[in-house]
């Protein structure tokens, strides 16, 4: 049975609507700073591609294209479940909403497992030039180090963001399963959703930038 939804208005806001809009604006501003952080690295990756196309192709042949593609699909599906959770929260359907959030977090964990396996394969194939004392597979191609290091920096930073996202999702699932959550904090589901969609968005750019272009 559907229950009422809403927001507990804090004293410094005039209305529920103002509080809702302020929270969303704050999240968007935060996400834009994150976007600029990632964009700087994407530009670096593209510049390396333009300056050293052969070295980048040599590295790209070692990247696990199918794991990258599968992970993109996993995040797209996870975003769908996040959208379902948001729509269910708007209808006051607390229990299925929490289920969707848990599925979203589960898909995030699946992404991390695949990523961990990919890193393991990279390590086994000696594609870790930043590790001192370990032989680098493309040692005769110094420019390839730039792209390989950038690959680890970009995917590592994304993995940190995703790990934080999974943590927030699990925390929100726990909080949202409490009685009366949607009557007081419905907009927190939407704010969490914005962050999750952003993680998906960043990976949608990471996949072509690192794995796909001019393989």
């Amino acid at each position: 049975m559907a229950s009422a939804i809403g927001i507990k208005v804090e004293e410094h806001f005039h209305s529920e609507e103002q509080q809702r809009e302020t929270a969303k604006l704050g999240m968007w501003v935060f996400l834009l700073t994150e976007l600029l952080l990632f964009s700087g690295m994407f530009v670096c990756a593209l510049v390396i591609r333009v300056m050293h196309p052969d070295s980048v192709t040599a590295v790209a042949l070692h990247l696990k294209f199918w794991i990258g593609a599968t992970n993109t699909a996993v995040l797209i599906v996870s975003s769908f479940f996040m959208s379902c959770a948001i729509e269910l929260s708007r209808l006051g359907r607390q229990r299925p909403m929490v289920m969707c959030m848990l599925v979203t977090a589960g898909l995030g964990m699946l992404f991390m497992l695949l990523k961990a396996y990919e890193y393991y394969r990279d390590y086994a194939e000696h594609m870790t030039p930043f590790l001192p004392g370990r032989r680098y597979e493309l040692v005769g191609d110094p420019a390839s180090r730039l792209f390989t290091d950038l690959y680890f920096i970009i995917t590592g930073l994304h993995a940190i963001h995703l790990t934080i996202g999974i943590g927030i999702m699990l925390l929100m699932s726990w909080l949202a399963s409490r009685q009366g959550f949607l009557q007081r904090h419905q907009n927190r589901i939407e704010i969490t959703g914005l962050y999750w969609h952003f993680i998906d968005l960043i990976w949608i750019v990471v996949f072509p930038t690192l794995y796909l272009l001019n393989r």
Partner: protein, 92 residues
């Protein structure tokens, strides 16, 4: 499933299917069309995917003008960053 819920889940479902189809297209391009100028199509598809996530996933089109302004400004700055940098390197 109530008709209201079905109606509200329509956009997320269609967005997911469109994104998966676009991803599939990009993967096929990456496998079968490795060289040449196929990167233009791949970048176009990735840009379409990003726009779909922002508009339909993050529901930017439903936001108030101030939020739309901020979201647009962020990507405008990114566009300046990419354009100026890549024009420099691509024309050397």
């Amino acid at each position: 499933m109530s008709p209201e819920l079905k109606r509200q889940l329509r956009t997320p479902l269609l967005t997911m299917l469109a994104l998966l189809a676009l991803l599939g297209t990009n993967v096929l391009l990456g496998i079968f069309f490795i060289s040449g100028h196929m990167w233009i199509a791949e970048v176009f598809i990735a840009t379409t995917m990003v726009a779909s996530v922002i508009i339909f996933g993050m529901e930017a089109h439903k936001e108030p003008p101030i939020v739309r302004l901020f979201s647009g400004l962020g990507f405008f700055w990114v566009a300046i960053l990419f354009t100026l940098t890549m024009v420099d390197y691509a024309t050397r």
